[in-house]
Symmetry: C2
Subunit: 221 residues, 2 copies
DNA sequence: ACCTGAACACCGTTCAAGT
DNA sequence: ACCTGAACACCGTTCAAGT
């Protein structure tokens, strides 16, 4: 298992795959996720058929990008584990995530049940969550973060803030900073504040095979 | 100006319009926003053409639903202004929003610049924000909420939490409760905590005509 | 093996013909 | 005035023919 697990491709095929991923990242950032696959293929300099040879479907192409971002984020997290101040290491990672939310938007979009159903994404996501958990526990041991929050709680909070910050990226970049400050305040060890209700959600909670899709999707009204 | 500003429709037309809105709300909740307009028309018992006579485009149909939700939410906010405890009135409204996020998802999706560009949505959104502002100031005067957050800060934070809660609605409903508690902690008047950086974003900040679309949409990479 | 673009199916939208 | 469904354009996906 490792980097070259994907059975070796012909040189030109490998190059096309990389070009497609690069072009797709660009195009999705510019025109949004609904951008046509035709433009992606054109910008990558290949035929439309080649896109579907490398990625069985548009969703798979998106998933590949998401996995890339998840892995990068995980790597940043592991580096942060070596930083001297446990609290600041965690907060700076959060801050970086929020600031990168323009480009990493796909990352956070992927943390919904639809996408987590995909195996590769779920695996990369688990790895990230474990790293986040290590960072969080370290910060908690140092007394920088309240002890009752779990990594899943934190991930959800940050996901939300990132999406909100992204939605308003054009109108006022300063609000992102303020959201970060609010997250810090939420995580601060509370003096007389009540603890979080319920019990801390665990990684396993997120990995129940998404019950929806066609099982019990009927709404009330 | 008022409720019957929309010039009177023929009886059957008015009925079709309502049926379409109802069917669309249902279908979007079940199958998501990408559900086909064909199914909506079928469930409403009208031809596809009728849908486009009432709503010039699928986006307009969605916008109509969003405006409905924004108005409802605004009404709940005004009612909360009359509740005795200023702090709890605000927090309960937030809690209600998060719990309704499954059905009100469209509401929060609409608080991105793309949608705020639409006049009707922007107006309904302004009204909601003004109500929220009144609730917030009242809670701040009562000392229940730190004085440096603005209604826009709060709206963004809640939007994020709602979307995160929605994304995990199937896996663990308890996490929503915990997110609410985190929001409460973030808003608590902080003892020795640093104030939010920058200056409080105002309603006007959100209403700059979204600069994007085709002006300066070029990304870095 | 892999690439390509014409062909297919699907969905949002339009419009000529109906009442 | 309003309704309808066939027709159009567009986009994701497939596949027979090429190298």
């Amino acid at each position: 298992m490792g980097e070259t697990a994907h059975r070796t491709l012909r040189a030109d095929a490998e190059r096309n795959r990389r070009r497609l991923l690069h072009a797709a990242t660009e195009v999705f950032c510019e025109r949004g996720i609904d951008a046509g696959v035709g433009e992606i293929a054109r910008r990558a300099g290949v035929g439309r058929g080649t896109l579907f040879r490398n990625f069985p479907t548009k969703e798979h192409l998106i998933a590949a990008i998401v996995v890339e971002r998840l892995r990068e984020s995980c790597a940043r997290g592991r580096k942060a584990l070596e930083a001297p101040d446990p609290g600041e290491a965690l907060f700076e990672l959060i801050e970086a995530s929020i600031c990168r939310s323009a480009t990493d938007r796909a990352l956070f979009d992927a943390l919904a049940d639809t996408w987590l159903a995909k195996d590769e994404i779920r695996d990369a996501h688990s790895a990230l969550l474990e790293t986040l958990d290590a960072l969080l526990r370290r910060a908690q041991r140092a007394g920088a973060v309240r002890p009752d929050v779990s990594a899943v709680d934190l991930m959800m909070l940050v996901k939300g803030v990132c999406e909100a910050a992204f939605a308003f990226r054009h109108v006022n970049p300063e609000v992102a900073m303020r959201q970060i400050d609010l997250v810090r305040a939420a995580l601060r060890p509370a003096a007389g504040a009540p603890p979080l209700r319920g019990h801390p959600p665990t990684l396993a909670d997120l990995q129940q095979p998404a019950a929806g899709d066609d099982a019990k999707a009927r709404p009330a009204a």
